[in-house]
């Protein structure tokens, strides 16, 4: 009987990522609603914070271990997880919609003959049928999608589902299994960390700058505010295309789609392709000289003013609050 739901957790450099706890919570929640047995799987070498996985209502955690698996290998991870899911006879697989999850989920879907719905932001079970909601056109529209397959694979947009801690059950266990003979046909040979401390795709707070910053030399104002808030620096397409900021900071339809708790847009007018990428943020602050700028239509709070003048003062005010 295929009555299992399997969450795939993600570690980087031996540490489980925050989004993995979101996966665990969704697995526990869906297991209850769909009357399935829950389990979670992590592939890697040493994992420092694996004990934390037992607090989210999933009582069986399996760690598949090999020293060659600490960094991602698409061939190795695909083989190992597909085999595990087949043996378990899992009906649902849940991944995070990260670079790794997006890379892996569709490959595994082919191996285990499953349908794949990515970047989900909401689920509903209606008349026993599982329906997922996901953004399309970078969030300009949403679609409700159902599976036509027997095995169902979903990926979760990060920062949308809350990681909910539960009381730890006494039966909760972690099993470690050593894996032999990893397929390393495609493997990571190096990780080049980017200069920014936090990536926009993972940040809970984002401070973004656009053309209103007037030039790359003024982006330190955005960086300072981001640092005080513990957030990441983002940029509009105009700022990236002008060569002021690297592409990995671009937010919008041809950059990253983000849903942080707080998004502060500085000197960004709000072209439709930018709004598409950030309008699902929980709170939006806009600072812009032009009071007609479209960004104000979706901002919770706005200040009509020059970002160059507002930013340093705002940074100071928040510093004071935090001290």
């Amino acid at each position: 009987m295929a009555n299992k739901i399997l969450g795939i957790l993600e570690q980087r450099e031996g540490k489980l990522k925050k989004v993995s706890f979101e996966v665990l919570s969704v697995v526990a929640d869906l297991a209850e609603k769909l009357n399935l047995e829950s389990e979670a799987l992590v592939v890697g070498n040493e994992i420092q914070n694996i004990d934390e996985t037992l607090n989210y209502g999933v009582n069986k955690i399996t760690h598949l271990k090999n020293e060659n698996l600490s960094a991602y290998s698409s061939s190795g991870y695909t083989d190992i997880i597909s085999e595990y899911a087949k043996e378990l006879n899992a009906k649902y697989l849940v991944f995070a919609n990260t670079a790794l999850g997006k890379d892996l989920a569709p490959r595994i879907s082919v191996r285990i003959n499953g349908g794949c719905i990515v970047d989900c932001i909401h689920f509903e079970i209606s008349n026993g049928e599982f329906i997922a909601t996901r953004p399309v056109y970078a969030g300009k529209a949403l679609v409700d999608v159902k599976f036509r397959s027997d095995i169902n694979i979903i990926t979760l947009r990060p920062n949308v589902f809350k990681p909910l801690k539960k009381d730890k059950s006494s039966s909760a266990i972690i099993t470690v299994k050593d894996i032999q003979n990893v397929n390393l046909k495609t493997r990571t040979i190096e990780f080049k960390k980017s200069e920014g401390k936090l990536d926009v795709a993972e940040a809970d707070i984002i401070v973004s700058g656009g053309r209103g910053l007037k030039g790359p030399e003024n982006f330190y104002l955005v960086e300072n505010l981001a640092e005080v808030l513990g957030g990441a620096v983002g940029a509009s397409r105009a700022a990236v295309d002008a060569g002021w900021r690297p592409h990995n900071e671009q937010v919008g339809q041809t950059g990253k789609t983000v849903s942080p708790s707080l998004y502060i847009a500085c000197g960004i007018s709000g072209a439709i392709q930018h709004l598409a990428g950030m309008s699902s943020s929980k709170y939006i602050v806009a600072i812009n000289k032009d009071k007609e700028a479209p960004i104000f239509n979706i901002a919770d709070y706005g200040i009509v003013g020059d970002a160059l003048e507002i930013l340093p003062k705002l940074t100071d005010e928040i510093k004071q609050l935090k001290s």
């Binding site: 490959r107 999608v145 707080l262």
Partner: protein, 248 residues
């Protein structure tokens, strides 16, 4: 070496999306379609690879007649010939990948480029599925690529940095902004493209594994508050973020 580039025909990113009458797709009236922006990097990389190693660049697209415009655009940039796998019905990524894999096999392409995602459905899974169906390696979200003999070294953009990945041909590479600067089609290229062949054939029939039940607009955001027109509004903003929104 035969090189395939898979392209999709998508609404311009500046399009205001209106939901169609079927409530499952967009209203196409007045929508301008373009080559998927990420596919332009794929076309450019295919042309650069051909310039280095020789071979033929074949553009493949799954869609209806209008997709020929996008194929033609890739031909104008310099690709050699096009193939339109015709289907009028909506397909999910899985059945698009099946049709592509089928044709890539027929064309005997060892190297395949496609955009890391198309900006309509934003799935970003077609490349990976196609590679599994073919048994090819696949490297996604690539911003730097080197191919020597059968070996590939690529950089892929991930959260917080770049992963340098080693793999081997045959392979599918999904392309990200930053990989290259796509060339503009010259007038000569546009004229030449008119004479290039676009072969049309029915796309391989296969079942979808997912089905769109409803397309809808996201709930509109309530209009926000303008707190002021100069820095005197800052204390109130900080207070609201701290006490009302509770995000700082």
């Amino acid at each position: 070496m035969n090189i395939a580039v898979c392209v999709s025909h998508v609404p311009d990113t500046a399009t205001r999306i209106v939901i169609g009458k079927d409530e499952k797709s967009i209203d196409q009236a007045g929508v301008t379609y373009i080559i998927n922006p990420y596919d332009e990097f794929a076309v450019e990389e295919a042309l650069k690879t051909k310039e280095k190693f020789g071979g033929e660049v074949i553009v493949i697209s799954v869609g209806n007649d209008s997709s020929k415009e996008t194929i033609r655009k890739a031909l104008a940039m310099g690709a050699d010939r096009g193939i339109l796998l015709k289907d009028e019905n909506p397909r999910d990524s899985f059945s698009i990948a099946k049709a592509l894999a089928d044709e890539i096999k027929i064309q005997n392409c060892e190297l395949v480029f496609m955009g890391k995602q198309s900006v309509d459905y934003d799935n970003s899974i077609t490349g990976q599925i196609t590679s599994e169906l073919l048994g090819y390696s696949c490297i996604t979200i690539v911003v730097d690529l080197k191919i020597e003999n059968n070996k590939i070294i690529a950089e892929r953009e991930i959260e917080g940095g770049k992963e340098v990945v080693e793999s081997e041909l045959p392979a599918i590479i999904t392309t990200q902004k930053g990989l290259n600067e796509p060339r503009y089609a010259s007038l000569k290229g546009i004229m030449a493209a008119k004479k290039k062949v676009i072969e049309e054939k029915p796309a391989l029939q296969t079942d979808n594994l997912t089905e769109v039940l409803l397309m809808k607009k996201p709930a509109p955001k309530n209009p926000g508050r303008i707190l002021g027109t100069d820095s005197s509004a800052i204390p109130e903003l900080v207070k609201l973020l701290h006490e009302e929104a509770k995000v700082i």
